[in-house]
C-alpha cells in the first residue's frame, strides 16, 4: 500500500480528536489584536513610571534634599512631586481603562471609537511629558539665574554679563532646551509610535469592513 494512504487512513480516523472551541471563544479572537497592542501601551506606561521613580530615588539622596531645604524649596518641590505623580497616575489609569474597554468590546464601531480614544490619550500623555519637562528646565534655570549664590564663585565681578553675553546665554539655553525636548520627543515617538501605527492599521482595516 502507498505510504501516504496509510497516513490518510489514520488522519481520517482522528477526526474527533481535535479541540472544540465555542462560539464565544472564536468570537473573542476576532478582536484580540487591538487588545494586545493597547495592553502593551498600558504595560509600557507602568514600566516608565517605575523607571522614573527608581531614577528619582537613586539621584535624590540626602544631599539633594539638604540642598533643597537650604534653599527653602522643600515645600514647592514636594508639591511638584505630588502633582506630577498624580498626573502620571491619572494617565496610567486612563491607559488601563482603555485596555479594559477594548477587552470587552463587542462590535466594530465601538472598537473603532476606543482605538481613536487610546491614540488620543497617548498623544496627550506625550504632550504632557514634553510640556512639563520644558517648564521644569526653564523653571530651574530661571531660579538659578535669579538666586545664584555668589559664594560659589570667587571674585564674582570677573563673571559679570554684558547685554551681548546675555543674548548669547539665552540663545544657547534655548538651543540646549530644544535639543533636550527633541530627544525626549524622539524617544516617545519610537516607544509609542510603533504601537500607535499598528493601532491605526487595525482601525483602517476595521473601517474597510464597515463599508
Amino acid at each position: 500500500m502507498d505510504e501516504l494512504d496509510l497516513l490518510k487512513k489514520d488522519w481520517n480516523r482522528q477526526q474527533g480528536n481535535y479541540p472544540k472551541l465555542t462560539y464565544d471563544q472564536i468570537y473573542k479572537m476576532i478582536w484580540k489584536r487591538s487588545q494586545s497592542i493597547v495592553k502593551w501601551i498600558f504595560y509600557i506606561s507602568v514600566i516608565e513610571l517605575l523607571f522614573a521613580t527608581i531614577i528619582n530615588i537613586v539621584f535624590s539622596g540626602d544631599k539633594y534634599w539638604q540642598d533643597i531645604e537650604k534653599n527653602g524649596l522643600s515645600q514647592v518641590i514636594t508639591i511638584l512631586y505630588i502633582v506630577s505623580y498624580a498626573i502620571t497616575f491619572y494617565f496610567i489609569y486612563r491607559f488601563y481603562k482603555n485596555y479594559k474597554k477594548i477587552s470587552t468590546t463587542d462590535d466594530a464601531s465601538t472598537l473603532m471609537r476606543n482605538i481613536l480614544k487610546t491614540r488620543k490619550t497617548v498623544k496627550y500623555y506625550i504632550a504632557y511629558v514634553l510640556i512639563s519637562s520644558g517648564i521644569t528646565v526653564v523653571g530651574i534655570s530661571g531660579y538659578m539665574i535669579v538666586n545664584h549664590s555668589n559664594t560659589d564663585v570667587n571674585n564674582i565681578s570677573k563673571y559679570s554679563f554684558e547685554t551681548i553675553d546675555w543674548l548669547k546665554f539665552i540663545g544657547v539655553s534655548v538651543l540646549v532646551l530644544t535639543i533636550f525636548l527633541g530627544l525626549i520627543w524622539l524617544f516617545y515617538r519610537l516607544l509609542y509610535g510603533i504601537l500607535l501605527k499598528r493601532l491605526k492599521k487595525n482601525y483602517v482595516e476595521l473601517k474597510k469592513l464597515e463599508m
Partner: protein, 164 residues
Amino acid sequence: MEKELEHQFVSNLERDQNIVHKICRIYTNDQSSHNDLFQEITIQLWKAYPKFRGEAKFSTWMYRVALNTAITLYRKKKRGIQTQDYDSVHFRIKVDEYDDETEQHLSLMYNAVKELNDIDKALVFLYLENKNYKEISETMGISEVNARVKMNRIKKKLKKLLNP
C-alpha cells in the same frame, strides 16, 4: 449589518473549525503555537470574509485562506533559527487498534511530513483531506498537472526521509 456578518462568520467557523485545527497540527509542534496559529488564521479569515461572497462553499474558501496564512507565517519564521522539536514524535494521537509496529511506522511518517517545506505540507494536507487533484489545484492556485507532479515528488521525498 455588521453584527449579522459577524454572527454568520463565527457560526460558520465554529462549524468548520476542525479544518483549521488540522492545519495547525501539520504546521506546529506544540499546543501554544497551535493556539497562536489558530488565532492568526481566525483573524485572517475574518479580514477576508467580506470578500467571500458565497460563490464557493465556506469550507473550500477556508482551506485557501487558512493555508495561505499558515504558509506565510511559516515563511516568516523560517528566517529565524529552526530547531527540531523532538516532542513532535508524540504529536500523533494514539489509536488503540494498531499494533506497535504500525504505530511506530505512523509516527515516523508524521515526522517525515513535518520535515517537508511549507508548500509541500499544504499539498500533503489537502491530499490527506481526501481532495482530488482538481480541488488541490484550485486551492493552491496551480495547474492540475503541476499538482500531480508536485505530489509525486513529495511521495519520493517522503520515501527518502523514511529510508535514508
